[in-house]
């Protein structure tokens, strides 16, 4: 399936900022699951070309300007041909040692309740265990936006019993690591089942390692393994580590941050346009 994506992030400042620095992980990698095409990233209209693979193989770029702007508009857009591979994600050009993905972080550090959850889903059959975990996460943490923040931990989300995809993915990786299963937090885009443009933000899910199969993408929010409806941007040990945009500005504080994701199946018209350009 070919998906067309346009992801715009806008920062507005109350006064012009004197210096803006951005770390961008907005370049989907070429994987067995996905082939990006005509993908560009711009900041206030200027093309960012400095993308190169980081330690986990994800494209990472950097943008810097020393000018007074009141608004920073980051646009990542292009086409991605996706393939349904029954949840298996492979073809990484750089692989980190698996035990690295057993590292807990301040956002995933397990408490007693997460440890109990781990014991309840433990199963020598790793795939079965991870499916049970995914179902448990969906069950135990109801999806409700506005109940948690970006600083919420896995332990807090589980205690509260509600949260968003970030919280569900945090709980999933925290518990998987408790069980000795390498797991990582993934950010990307999801073509929502209801149709085009239903989801207006980036999505988060998890990948866990299964010997013999490799990395499997688990979307606990939707109770699914990843399909050709998913575009993978980057991964990390937690949401903070995997942030697609991390910024540092001097001279002002942001008064508004807005993210807009438009995703749809690239139509015949889009194909024709591309063909005409060739």
């Amino acid at each position: 399936m070919e998906l067309s994506v346009r992801h715009q992030t806008t920062y507005r400042y109350e006064t012009p900022v004197s210096e803006v620095a951005l770390r961008l992980r907005l370049q989907p990698a070429l994987l067995d699951n996905q082939t990006p095409r005509d993908w560009t990233v711009t900041v206030n209209g200027a093309l960012v070309q400095s993308f190169r693979p980081n330690a986990f193989g994800d494209g990472e770029g950097f943008f810097h300007r020393r000018t007074g702007v009141e608004e920073v508009v980051i646009v990542a857009a292009g086409l991605v041909a996706t393939r349904d591979r029954a949840g298996i994600v492979s073809g990484f050009r750089q692989e980190a040692p698996l035990p690295v993905f057993l590292r807990q972080t301040p956002l995933t550090r397990p408490d007693g309740a997460l440890g109990d959850l781990a014991r309840s889903v433990a199963d020598p059959d790793r795939l079965a265990c991870l499916h049970a975990l995914s179902a448990q996460v969906r069950d135990r943490i109801g999806y409700r936006s506005g109940t948690t923040s970006t600083a919420s931990t896995a332990a807090e989300a589980l205690a509260q019993g509600q949260g968003v995809c970030q919280d569900q993915a945090h709980v999933f990786v925290s518990v998987a690591r408790c069980l000795g299963i390498p797991a990582r937090y993934v950010v990307g885009y999801l073509l929502a089942p209801e149709g085009d443009q239903a989801l207006r933000e980036t999505h988060a899910w998890a990948e866990a390692w299964v010997p013999g199969l490799g990395w499997i993408g688990f979307d606990a929010t939707n109770g699914l393994c990843v399909t050709d409806h998913y575009v993978r941007l980057c991964c990390g040990l937690d949401a903070q580590d995997a942030a697609p945009v991390r910024g540092s500005v001097f001279g002002a504080t942001a008064i508004a941050i807005q993210a807009d994701v438009m995703i749809g199946v690239a139509g015949p018209s889009a194909d024709q346009q591309t063909q005409q350009q060739q």
Binding site: E19, A21, L22, R23, S50, R52, N54, A55, F56, E60, G61, F62, H64, R66, Q94, A96, P97, P99, V100, L102, R103, L237, Q240, R246, G247, S248
Partner: protein, 469 residues
């Protein structure tokens, strides 16, 4: 009985101390005290008042200087030097390995999780090749002596070991006050250290550098306890001392803001911890740091000395495996021994440590500077019991070592020359080649019988001589 480095038990003066002894006798205790007051006045005037790496304490407090030099013979130094170089080489080989294929872990010599789950390990560094494959460009190795032939390594410092300015200043003061002592040329000079350091830093210039590399020293600022050393070294190397706000990153290169416009920087000798280097790569709440610095580093636009993540090599849990590293990477036997160490993280070690805590020195794995450690033989029963509880609560966080009979060096007492325990920190430079000036920092415990040489706990410093022949 501790080994006294100046004098054999039968009263004979050891040959390397002959000149020092002659000078002590000639000057007399009263004379030495007068000169000591002068030396202290000079130190105060220059303003050397910083603490040694990670020791905390009041940065404005003057670290006591003891006038009597500590002396190594040529032969002693040769063996020390070989051992130090060997260790610095193995530590860098280990760093390259764990940030690449991890062969030493695959071979089962070091438990994987001890490295990959260690907070000092930086996953961001995986797969990156720093120039010359060097991670730790200045390796400070803390060495103790327990006998005429017995030198042992207490710990390694692979990040940004400090204290080298004491080595330089102590020698400078001694030369200025006692030119006669050095006139015969018996003592090997150390004053070429800044030139060798600069040479080393230029050798690891990044791929993007064209021409003569521009090197700067990056300091957190004047509030840092080692700021004096930062400005002192920058001055001696003739390079600029910069703070994070002086730098920015653009087009994968690092630039220094100047009144005449941006100026390229190739190599950064950073005296800032990993966490505070770059808020976009490491701690996001850090107000220090240069946004994008790590990106420029991975892009080959700048070299950071030391490399982020170099601290995994000097972690106390990793320390016990350094002899194994030397065998694995160099195919050699360690020249300098480790101190036997029990890890409370394994059951056997824990049982031994809990049963013998009264005889051992116990330390926190991630602690430094003599804080949070227990010296069993000097502790009360209650202190030992309380410490045992702490170990039981988090066994993996502790190691223990036997109480060592540290050697003693001559030190100026009230009315006589007295013996005080000392350690030694030489500084090995690693670039395209390894360099070591003959000397280092000798720290001395000024309290009688004390084994703690840290300046925050009543330690002082002294000049260290390596004899020419």
């Amino acid at each position: 009985m501790s080994f006294f480095e100046m004098q054999a038990p039968d009263g004979a003066i050891r040959a390397c101390y002959a000149e020092v002894k002659r000078w002590i006798d000639e000057t007399g205790i009263e004379g030495l005290h007068r000169r000591m007051d002068e030396a202290e006045a000079i130190f105060r005037r220059i303003g050397i008042t910083f603490a040694v790496y990670g020791e905390g304490g009041d940065p404005e407090r003057l670290i006591p200087f003891d006038l009597l030099p500590r002396v190594f013979s040529r032969l002693e130094w040769q063996r020390l030097e070989q051992g130090i170089r060997q260790r610095a080489q193995a530590l860098n080989a280990f760093l390259y390995d764990v940030y690449h294929r991890g062969e030493i872990l695959r071979a089962g010599h070091i438990p994987q999780e001890l490295v990959y789950l260690n907070p000092a390990f930086r996953p961001e560094m995986l797969g990156f090749d720093p120039p010359g494959r060097v991670y730790s460009h200045i390796v400070g190795i803390d060495i103790v002596r327990t006998g005429p032939e017995a030198f042992e390594v207490l710990e390694d410092n692979c990040r940004t070991p400090s204290g080298v300015s004491y080595m330089l200043e102590n020698r400078e003061i001694m030369t200025r006050m006692f030119p006669g002592l050095f006139a015969k040329g018996l003592v090997t000079p150390v004053d070429n250290y800044p030139a060798l350091l600069l040479k080393t830093l230029k050798e690891v210039a990044p791929p993007a550098c064209k021409g003569d590399p521009v090197v700067v020293l990056l300091t957190p600022g004047s509030l840092n306890s080692a700021y004096y050393e930062h400005s002192f070294l920058a001055d001696l190397m003739g390079i600029e001392l910069v703070e994070p706000m002086d730098l920015f990153v653009e087009n994968d290169r690092v630039w220094k803001k100047t009144t005449a416009g941006p100026r390229l920087v190739d190599v950064i000798y950073r005296r800032i911890d990993d966490d505070y280097l770059d808020p976009l790569a490491f701690r996001p709440d850090s107000l220090l740091g240069v946004p994008g610095l790590f990106h420029a580093y991975r892009a080959g636009g700048v070299t950071l000395c030391s490399a982020p993540g170099a601290g995994i090599a000097d972690d106390k849990a990793i320390y016990v495996y350094v002899p194994e590293m030397i065998r694995f990477y160099l195919g050699e036997e360690p020249i300098l021994a480790n101190i036997p160490t029990w890890q409370c993280g394994d059951a056997e070690g824990l049982a031994y440590v809990l049963a013998h805590l009264g005889e051992l020195v116990a330390k926190e794995v991630h602690g430094s500077g003599g804080y949070g450690m227990l010296i069993g033989p000097h502790a009360t029963k209650a202190e030992i019991a309380a410490y045992a509880d702490r170990i039981r609560a988090n066994p993996g966080g502790f190691i223990a070592q036997p109480t060592l009979e540290l050697s003693t060096v001559p030190t100026l007492g009230e009315t006589a020359v007295v013996q005080r325990h000392a350690d030694f920190r030489p500084f090995c430079l690693v670039g395209e080649q390894m360099r070591l000036v003959p000397g280092g920092l000798t720290r001395v415990a000024l309290t009688e019988g004390s084994l703690v040489v840290n300046s925050s706990q009543g330690g002082g410093v002294k000049d260290t001589w390596v004899l020419r022949s």
